[in-house]
Every structure is written in structure tokens, then in C-alpha cells.
Symmetry: D2
Subunit: 354 residues, 4 copies
């Protein structure tokens, strides 16, 4: 058997980083990942004079060896033979770091939004101030949007994979088959009413993520202006005004359910639609298509890498409601990152994810 | 000061009945209500040989006197001078009982769906088998849909008020102003993606309402076929295919948030829309209009009789997202019933609800 | 009818302050309270150049007039005739402010822990550094522990009432009757295993109060060293080692349930114990004693000012388990503060709390 | 490599059965288990005329092959070479079935309470009416209490393993080391204040498990009389009156946290206690001992087979509070059953559980 791949994670102290750590340490083709922190992260949680350990932040990791965090050092990465670096860092940090990582010869899977958007009109969404604009622009061209169900061929050869947003994954996977089949009335407009658990908002304590603010509550936010809207439109080839996207904050720790509304441009039967979805995902392992009129529930996909798809069709055979569910930390983040890794290194896309 | 009104509640053992009991016992113009059970309810929860008491089922009521449940008897109602009977009973029970109550000379507020739908095409929704079809048909004509913001004049004189559904209230109050102003593109279709807490599903334990099935979850149900769709279409004068309604079950005990999508038939500004809403509800006490682009959260309306309305308008000045929130047991049930009572007896609609 | 009392609240932007605002504005003997902020609070949430309004922080307040926040000014308090000031401020702020308020001739109800502890051995618990130690010591002597079920006579005349801690209220009210009756084996030790909703931890967003940290979780904290242990021991006349107190953080927004373990110093029957509790609380309105072997649940007391007490007795007639429940924001904070006010001004203790 | 073991599960449609199915299908030494239903279960959920499939009840299983349920047949079990049968059935069903399974030559792991209690004084706890009392009595003698940390040697050779109760596991594992070391003052009494998620109450919908009854709530139940008290006393060699056990229902789907109170019979340091725990569990893989004064939280053990133990010691060096956490469906049921299987068949106890 071939030697195992050496990987590193920058940003393992966040929710996605923790999940990634857990998946990689059980992945049969990968060594236990090297955990890195940015020099500036040193103070956070480091209670002693030694190195910070991840199991101090997440005691649930204990009992399984040690998880020391090392300060990022190119020399050390090379010495250890690391070939792949996962960036589980804030958007700005990923934007600043990725060019350097590529220059050092490593391959990168970036879980942030830094490299997902290619179209000029979307430049302003994150408003990055790139130190070297030319280099950033070039890398932007090369970055591959890491949705394996759509882009596996490009992902295989990618140097930089931009791991999709959690909401975006749920919406794109639902719509891709029917858009690809040309049966959606784009001019009518498509709506995704999406609901996410709180881990999607990150680990920083804020007034929004306080337990008392979230429990027994539901709220819509960033209507018409959520950043994932750009990804969705780009990947699906929609004009911005053809897609309405409303995220909501659910009183649950994890999981996304998107309820998607669209109009078919011709009358179709439930069987036709189901067939369209099934054919599109025939060889894909991580999308489960439910029978017509049977809807997935959010919890079915929790703690898995699946995106679950179901739909209901109106009596008029035109109005279609789709439901798409996934675990925002797995298929919406860390799981998808590992799926991308599997493609990049030529392995079965299910490796380490079951 | 005038003598206080005598009322009775049939079905106080359910969630809405409990709320109604609590409101009425504090209402300044009403005596502590007479609590009734149907003869067939006798066995439920009656642990001794005496009368069942509501505080045995809901110990939270204790410390405030006694709440005996009496078997329904017309003679007794008359003897006590009861003028108004609240039916917090299942649809079928309300359908069977209301004609008799009216015949006995009492006024009725029915919290079930038995008398809400008038149009022939909606007859099948509940599929009632009326013992006396003619009498039922006549009463159907006379029954008033008890949404005071729209129908106060009719409610004042009504013998039978059909208290609206919880989802329906949230959707109708959001849409009425703009539909009335004629600015909604009806042909384009309107969508309400609605989410409700579990008390909306009633108190009977079922696989659906088991804590483990609901917690950490979200699920859509009855897509295109929920019964409240009929109410919404009738009250708003929409064709069935103009309204798409998707209810979801939220992991919270109470509260509804409806996210409503529509297209304006002309470009409008946020200020215009806000003004339209504010004017429509200018003299109404139980609708709160939020400023443009400020959305209400579900919990703001909990434990109140308010319906909260807010909206966001897209850059194209055509796509509008509205958010409507209420407490399904208050403005969506018992609170609205009391608001209806206030109108029926000529009182300020706020009495007893603050 | 006498003129209504004028009151002010310093710190209405916290959870207890909000509840207090809501109770006082409906209290029949009190004017809508004047809401105050400390000069240093100016920046928080003040989005415009005008005064901050409480309904901007808590939109659930809207529809009921305005709630402007004023900077604390003695002159203004006097001009408006304010007689009573509620301090819903952090411990240190209350400690620093109360002497000045008293000096200005106002009466004070302090919801913090600043003035609850009298005994020398407990001085270190909060570790206050008093600017004027003599004045603080004097005031410490005068301050009345505001548990009306035990101290009503002193509260009536008090200048400064120290409103009890939420946990402490639940434990003291459970134990006072049996300790007073002399039937508890103190040497054996008493244990309170207490569980609280998250609002008890305050409104500041921290890693501990992040939704993801609390949901689907339970954790014990501050074992043997929680500050309320001092109050409990002082009020009940227990030595510190006779009382073990373990608080836990529950995944709910509000409410406390304390499960209390003790040994009787003689065999007793359930009826005797029930009688002992009932007699002790015979004339008290805000304690509900449950029948022997019927335990209150946490939610029965939510949104009320009740403390609910129940118990189970072992077959050996010695081991007793008591359960005590209350709403930490009401009987555990704002409700009890109003109950104290009612006593201070000679009103029925139920006024405004029903 | 040896042929894989063939196993069967009777009762896979419950929560523990589902977890067991999931673990076994990934276990490297076991074939996908045969799923069985009792003849009487036929009607439940079987919507078609074919066999019921588990993935119809738990759609989260889909995408991973089929899970047909077969009616229990000894002939079929033999034909397929099944050697081990898991009983995830109600107490009464397990009590009636186990003798027959043993007679058929299979080994049994019973997840119910049917065979856990040996002592005469505990016979009444479940009150079984055995058809063949002599056979039941004999089997009772032979049944091994399946807590591998205490009984591994007996489990290895057992024909019938009685898988421990979830609460009992959390309490016994916490207390065994210190009781074994003889440092607990038994006469003083030990208290376990235990809190469990709702899956511990089973999948049947009842008024107690309705979402609205559980959410935002906490309640104690079965004080002094919970069935697990018998197991705890027997396994730890305690007299019944030496152990007080109070279970509570937490508003979370899964997980148990027991807060345990005891008195040492001599002054000890935290380091001594920690050492005692660490030595006791030195070679055990599924107990994690936390450092002195660092308490585990309930969620750390969720979705794992760990039991987490921590403690705090009072200043008097006598009063000890221990905290014990586990996942009631894993270490408290299905995970422990697999750990038992691993011992019964001579494998590493971690197999299939990581």
C-alpha cells in the first residue's frame, strides 16, 4: 500500500476545523493531520507556556492521543512532507495566505469564501484588498469551485480548491439537474428559503449567537444580500435577479434545510422530475434523491456527508417545491473538503466519509 | 359598571383552550369562564370519582382557585346565563355542535376549521358529513371569518365566528394591504414559506410530535395541500394556483414565522410599501409594522396577541420578501378569539389582551 | 386614589431590567418607570445621535409607546419625584452606586449581589474594593435581604433591599420551613443540585453562552464555590460545610429547578412534611406547595412569580428529596423585586404580578 | 482472515436497535446484521404488501443498501449461521424470549432490563410472570451483567449477557473505583442526581415525550423508585437505603449526566482521587478520567462509546461531587452491547466503536 498522504489544517480551532480533524484522523489514506495556528492565534486559549493543544479547547477529542497546535512554518511543512493544506481560516486570512501556499508548492483546499467567486460583478461581495492584485487575479482564475458533483474533472487537477459555501451547496445541488435539463423557467425566478443551524454562524460569541437570542426563535437575515447568493448565481449561470435567497437562523446546532420554489417551463410529471434527478446523480455517492412527494427532513443528513433531495409538484404540473438538506459542517464544509481531497488524489470519493 | 359577560369554553384541555381560560379569567369584562367537556371526554385524565379539574392536567394553573370541568348541558348553560360559547374542539365536533349551540340562542366563537370555508371548491378540504346538510349550508353562509383587521363590522353582529387558522392569520395579514392596493402581480404567484412551533400540531402524542423526532430537526409537510391554503385563497380572493403554501415544523413549542415571496406589478420604493402597510393597519391595535428592511423575529410576538410584519425589497424594486410573525396560540388562536369577542360585545379590541 | 409611585430603573437593557420594565409599566400603583443608563453605557447600541431607546434593543417592546433611556442624573430624578430606584446593574456598579442613591434620599432595590452578604467570612466572595469602607460597612448592616416570605417586616421599612439571587431563592424557600421546624439533620449535610436556564448567565455573549455550546448539552460549574452558596448559608443559618450546592447550565432560556437532598433527624410522614410546608407558607401568595409525592416541573412556574415546592420521601422516612422551581427572571429577579416594592410601599404583595 | 460473525437484531425499529444496526454494519468482524421483527410487529409501519424495511422507518439509513425486516424464525437463523442474537425488545419480550434463544444454541445480548437483577429482594422490580419459573431462575443465575469494565472475564464466556441500563452504567462506572478502594462512607449514603435526554424514554409517543411537554422544561421522576436503582445497588454491593437516585428528563434528544454526591471516610486530596480513578480504568478504553476539578460536559461523550468521569472535592477534603456523562444510546445501550460482543468473541473491545 502506498505511503499515506501528509496534510495540515490551518484553523482547526473552529467548528469546521474540528470536524476536519476528526475525519482526517480516521481516513485510511491520510496520516493524522498536522494542526496549525497562525502566529497571531497564539494567545487564544493557550493556558500554559507550552503549545496549545486542540483537546484543551475541545475536550471531546481526548482519549485519542494528542493534538498539538503548531505555528505555521513553511520549513516545517516541507520537512514533514505535507502535500495538502486545508485552510479553515477567515475569508481575509485565506485570501492573504493561499497565494503563498501555492507558491510553496502545496495544494490547497480553502474552506472560506475567499476564492469562490470569479465573475467581475461579484468582486465587491467580499471586498478583498489584495496585496498583490495581479497574483490574486491569476489565482482567482485557477481556483476550482469544489463541488465534486459538478466539477470533479477540474478538481482532480486543481492546485487550489475553493470549497463551496454551506447554503450554496444545498441550493446548487438541488437546482443543477433541472437547470441542466433546461426545464426551469429562469425568467420567472427561483427562490430558496434556506434555514441553517447556528454553527453556520461560526464560533465567535456574538449577540446573535447567544443561546437566549436563538432558542425558541427563528429569524431571517441578509435578505437579498447574503454572500452565498453570488456563488449560487455563478455556478448555476443565473442572473442575480433570477435568484432570491433568504437565509434563516434555526434554533439547532447544525444542519441546513433549503425549501426551493421554481416554475417549470413545461408541464412535467413527478416521475419525470424524479428521473431527471436520479440520472443526474446516478454515479454520485453523496446525493440521495428521495422518491417523488417524499421529502427529506433536516436530521436525516446530520452527521453524514449526504445532501438529501426531495420534491413536491403541484397539480398544475408547473409549480415545483424542492427540499434540500445537508449537514453544514460536513457536506457543507469539512466533509466536502475531504471529498474534494479524495478527487484530488485519485481516490474513491467515499474514502473516510462513511 | 355593567354585569360581566358569562362565557363557557368547550375543550379547555387543549393548548388553545388553556390559553383561552387564562385570558378570560383576567379579562375585566368577563366572569371566570365555565369550563365544559363533551360527554365523551369523561374518561380522559379523570383520576378520581369527582369532576375532572383543569389544574390536574395543567398544574401551572394551581394557586388561582379551582377549574372544575362540567359536562356540557344546555340547561345548565342557560341557568348560568352563558351568552357566548367558545368551541376549542376538533373540526368534526365543532361542525356537529355549532348548529345546536346557535339554535339554543348562544353566540359562538369556533376555534376549529369547521366553519371557515365558504366556497364550493373548498368543501372537500375537511370533508364533513353533515347530519343536516341544509342547516349546515345555511350556517356556513352566516358564519363570519373572524379576522378583526378585515372583518370587524361583520364580527360585531355575528352569531357564529369562525376563528381563523394560525398559519392563515399570519399570511392573510401580511398580504391584505398590498393585495388591497392592487400592487401585487397575482399571476406571477405568491409563495408563503411558513414555519410553526409544535403546539400548532395539537396536544395528542404522535410519532411526529415526539421530542426526539422534532428536536434538532426541521421538516416541511403537506406541501400544496395544507388545509389553511383554502382559507388564505378565499379571504384574499386568490385562485388556488396563485398561492403556494409550504408549512414546516420548527423545534420550538410555539410561534409562527411566515416568509412570503411576491412580485410587485410596478416598481415601488421601500417607503411606499411601508406606508401602504402602515395606512392599512393605522387603527389596528394588534398588527405591528416594522420599518422597511427591519425584520421581526419570531420571538418578538411570543406571549402577545401581535402579528408582526416586516419586509425587504430587492434592488429591482419588484421582488418583495415579507416576514410575518405571531404566537400561534394567541393571535393564531385564543388571543384572536378574545379579540373577536371584544368586537362582538362592543368593547375595545385590546381588552384583556395586554 | 393616591398618586402613583415614581420609580426608575438603572440597567434596563439586561434581561432582568427588561422584565422589570414590563412589570412596572402594568403595575396599577406605579407610573411607567424612568429608564436610566450609566454615563459609560452611552455607546452601547446607540445607533443615532439621539437618546437610545429600549425598544431598539428589544423590538418586542414596540407598539406600546416609547422607552427612552436617560443618563442617570440626581437632579432629574428629584425633579420627577422618583422615590424608588431599581439597580439592575453589575455587582460592582451596584456596590459603588447604592450609598450615593441612599444619600440622595431614594429607596433602593438592588438586583445584584452587592449587598446580600453580611457575615465577615463572606466578605471575600465578591471581593469589593469600597471607596469608602466605613460607609459601605454601615450600609451593609442596614441592607435587608429581600426575601419577603422570610423578611417582610424588615423589608417594609428598608432603605436598601438586596434582592436575592435566583438560585438562592429556590434553595432557601425550599429549606426554610423544615429548618425552622428543626427537623433537618444539619450535621449530615444538605445538597442542592440546581439547574438553571441560560438567561441566568446574563446577556453578554461568551463562549459559555454560545448556542452551540449550550444546546444538546448539560454542564455543572462552580462546584463548591458558587457565590449564591454564601447567601444560602447566611439566610438559613448553616455552616458552609453543611451545604453543598452544584449549579448546572440547562439548554433552556429561563427557569431554575433545584433538587434538594436532606436527611430528617426523626422519622416523619409525607403528610407531616406537607403540613409543615403548608403552614409555613399559609399566608404567602407566591409559594405553591404541591401535594406529597407530586413534583412540580420547571415549566409550571415559567412566566409567573411563583416558587413551586414539592417533595418525595423515602421508605425509610428519613431521606427527603425536595424539588423547587421558579422563573429566574421573575421570582428569581424582577418579580421578586416588585414583590419587595409592594411590601416597601404597603401594598398587597400580589399587585402587578398576576 | 476469519469468516465474519453472523448476528441478528430483534427490535431494530427502536432507538437502540437503530444505533446497533449502524454500528454492526460497519464493524470489521461482523456481517451486516439480520434484522428481525416479532410476529406481532408485522403491522407497524408496513405500508405495502412486502416486507417492512428499516429504511422506511428511518430514512436516514437510505443510500447504503437495503434493510429488510424478517419475521423471527429459528430455522432461518440456523440456516444463515447466526451465532449471536441481540434483543432490543421490551423487558417482557426479552424475558419470554431469552430462554428459547439459549435453548436454540445462540448466544444473547439483551438490551432490556429482563435479566439484570439477581437478588431476591429485587425480583419485584419488573414483576415478571415467567411461564417456566425454574428455567427463568436458572437463566437468571447464569446471566452476566454486561459491564465490561467490571465483568469482562465473565462476559467472555457468557451465554446470556444482560446489557446494563443507561443510568446504571453512568452511576456504577463513577462509583466503582472509590467503593472498591474502600474510601466511601457508605453509611452516610450516596446520591446520584441524574439527567437524561428523551431517547431514554423510548420511541413510543406519550404525553411525557411530546415536544411541548419536554421543551423549555426539566422534571424529576420516579424518585426513590426507578428500576435502575436495583442494578446500581446490586452491582455496587450497596444496601438500597445507601443509594438515593433521582432521574430527570432533559430537553435534549440524547445523553446522560449524573451528578453524584458522596462522603469520603477519610480526608483525601484531589490527586489521590484522580489516581484512584486512573488506576482503576488504566487498561480500559471506554472510560475517560478528567483531571481533578475539570468536569466533563454531557455533549463531550455524545455519539461516542465513552463514559466520561470528573470530580470536584470540597475544601474539607471529604465531600466529593462526581460527574459522569455518556451517550445513553451508545455506552448506555447499543455501544456497550457491541463492546460486550467484542469480549464474547475475543476481539479488541474497541472494534467497530471508533
Amino acid at each position: 500500500m502506498a505511503a499515506k498522504l501528509k496534510t495540515a489544517i490551518l484553523g482547526a480551532t473552529g467548528y469546521s476545523g474540528l470536524e476536519l480533524t476528526r475525519i482526517l484522523e480516521r481516513h485510511p489514506r491520510v496520516e493524522k493531520p498536522l494542526l496549525l495556528q497562525r502566529p497571531s492565534d497564539g494567545a487564544n486559549g493557550n493556558t500554559g507556556n507550552g503549545a496549545l493543544h486542540l483537546e484543551e479547547i475541545f475536550p471531546e477529542l481526548s482519549g485519542n492521543g494528542e493534538y498539538p497546535l503548531h505555528v505555521l512554518s513553511w520549513r516545517e511543512l516541507k520537512r514533514q512532507g505535507v502535500e495538502l493544506l486545508f485552510l479553515a481560516t477567515p475569508h481575509e486570512a485565506s485570501r492573504a495566505l493561499a497565494p503563498e501556499v501555492i507558491a510553496q508548492g502545496l495544494r490547497v483546499i480553502d474552506l472560506s469564501g475567499a476564492w469562490r467567486l470569479k465573475q467581475e460583478r461579484h468582486r465587491a461581495i467580499y471586498g478583498f484588498a489584495d496585496a498583490d492584485e495581479a497574483r490574486a487575479a491569476t489565482l482567482m482564475e485557477q481556483a476550482i469551485y469544489g463541488l465534486p458533483e459538478l466539477n470533479a474533472d477540474c478538481i482532480k487537477k486543481a492546485q487550489l480548491v475553493a470549497n463551496p459555501g454551506c447554503y450554496a451547496t444545498s441550493v446548487i445541488l438541488a437546482l443543477a439537474p433541472l437547470l441542466s435539463a433546461g426545464v426551469i423557467d429562469r425568467e420567472h425566478g427561483i427562490i430558496s428559503d434556506s434555514k441553517s443551524g447556528v454553527s453556520g454562524a461560526g464560533k465567535s460569541p456574538t449577540a446573535r449567537t447567544h443561546f437566549v437570542a436563538v432558542a425558541d426563535n427563528l429569524s431571517a437575515y441578509s435578505v437579498f444580500e447574503h454572500r452565498h447568493l453570488g456563488e449560487i448565481a455563478e455556478q448555476l449561470g443565473l442572473k442575480d435577479e433570477q435568484m432570491t435567497f433568504t437565509p434563516h437562523l434555526l434554533p439547532i446546532p447544525r444542519g441546513i434545510l433549503s425549501t426551493i420554489y421554481l416554475r417549470l417551463n413545461r408541464a412535467m410529471s413527478g416521475a419525470e422530475i424524479e428521473q431527471c434527478l436520479r440520472e443526474f446523480y446516478a454515479q454520485k455517492n453523496w446525493v440521495r434523491v428521495f422518491p417523488a412527494m417524499k421529502l427529506p427532513q433536516l436530521r436525516f443528513s446530520l452527521h453524514t456527508n449526504y445532501c438529501d433531495l426531495g420534491f413536491c409538484l403541484a397539480d398544475d404540473c408547473r409549480r415545483l417545491v424542492m427540499v434540500s438538506c445537508l449537514d453544514n459542517l460536513l457536506k457543507g464544509a469539512a466533509g466536502q473538503a475531504v471529498q474534494n481531497m479524495n478527487w484530488m488524489f485519485g481516490w474513491d470519493e467515499r474514502e473516510g466519509l462513511q
